[in-house]
Amino acid sequence: MNFTHKQSAHCESGVISNLLRFHGLEFDEPMAFGIGSGLFFSYLPFIRINGIPATAYRIWPGQIFKRFSERIGIKLERKKFSNPKSAMLELDKMLDKGQPVGMLTSVFYLNYLPAAYRFHFNAHNIIVFGKQNGSYLVSDPVMEYTTEISHEDLVRARFAKGMPEPSGRMYYPVKLPGDYSLEQAIWKGIRQTSDHMTRIPMPIVGAKGMKYLAKRLRQWPEKLGERKAILWLGNVIRMQEEIGTGGAGFRFIHAAFLDQASAKLQNEKLFNLSQQLTKSGDSLRDFAYYAGRVCKNRKSDTKTFAELGDMLEACSVREQEIFSELYEVSKSK
C-alpha cells in the first residue's frame, strides 16, 4: 500500500491529514485542526477524572473529524463492533482491499509508545495501513515514523473498557468531495472556534473558562492543602502541554492554522491575529513553566498560586480579545 506517514502534534487532526493524503487530498495538520475547530477551553469542576477536575484545551474527541468532514464534504463510513473477532476480520478485509483504516484505541495497550504516556486514555486515533508477519502496520500521528503492533495488543487497544469505550470503532472515507470551497471551510472553522471561545454564555468554557480556572486555582492551597493543590496544578500542566497539544494547549497549532489561512486567503489580518495568538501561547508556556517549578519544589503557598492565577487570567483577557476580533473578521464571510 502506498501510504505516506507524516508526524503531527495531535492525533485526530493527524489522522485526518494522513488518511486524506492517501486519497489524494493534501491537508496539512493545522488546516485539518482549524477547519475542524479543534481549539477550545473548558474547566469542568463537576467532572472528576481520578478525583481531579477535568480541564481541556480542546474540543471533545471526535468533533474535529466530524466538523472537518462536514465542511469539506467528506463522507465517512464508521463502524463499531460487539466482538473483537468481527472487528479484526473487517479490518483485514479493508486492508486486503488496499484501504487504510482509522480507528479508536486506548493508549494503555500501544506498547510502541514510551511507558510514561500509557495511561487509560481511550480516545486515541491511529491508522492501520497494512499487515506484515502477523503484525499490523500502524501510522500513529504522534510518532515520527510508522510502527507495528501485535494482533493481541491491537485487539486489547480496540476493545478497552472504561470511558469512552472504543468498541472497535473504525472509519474510512467513502465519498470524497468533488468540489468544495476551501475558503468557506476555513472561515467556518475560524468562526466556530472564535464563537465558542467568546460567545457561549457559561462561565466555565471558552476564554471565560480560563478566568474561572484562574479564580479557582488561587484558592487551591487553602481549600485542598499542599499535596492536592500541587497534584491538581500538575494536571493542568499535563492537559496543556502533554502529548497531542503541539505546545501551549493547542494555541500554537491554531496559530499555525491562521498563518496558513492568511497565506491561502491572502488576508494580512489573519496573520496579524496569528502572531497575537502566538504571544498568548507563549504566556501559557510561561504559566506552565512556573507551574512546573512549583510542582518540582513541592511547595504551594498562597502567593505563588495567586501569581499563577494572575498569569492565567491575563491569558484569558488576551484570548477574549483575539477571538472576539477573529469572530468579527469571520462573521460576515
Binding site: 497534584l231 500542566i237 499535563r238 505546545g247 499555525a256 517549578r293
Partner: protein, 136 residues
Amino acid sequence: MNKEQVPQDEENLNEGKLAKLYYATDDKGHYVKVNSIGWEPETVAMQQAWDVVNNEVDEAREKVIKGEASPILYYLKKNIMTPALVASYVGTLSLIVRLHCRPFFFKRMSKKTLEKYAYTFRISVAELTDIERLKK
C-alpha cells in the same frame, strides 16, 4: 515560540522513542514544524502523576505481603485501574472486585474467575496467585 526556543531537555520520560512535534515560528513569525525531545515542566507533571500511581502500587504490595489484601489489589493498582474498570473487563460488579481484593474471598475464587483476572492483567494464573514474587 521561536523555533530556536523549542525545548530539548535531555531529562525526559520518552525512552528515546519519541520526539514530539511542535509548531514554532521562524524569524518572520510564520509557522514551521520542529521536533522536541522533552520539556522539563511537562516531565515534572508527568512524573508527579506516576509518583501517585507508584505510591499506590507500593502500598498495595505491602498490604498483600502482610496478608491484608489479595494480589488482585496489587495488579489492579499496577495496571492503573479502578475496581469498576476491572469489573467491566472481568464481567462482574465492582463490589465483587472489591471483595476479591480481600484474601478471604480471593482464596475461594474459581479457576475460571482467576483466569479472567489474569487475562485482564496480562499475566498467567500462576503469576497472579504467587505472592512470593511480590516480595522481591
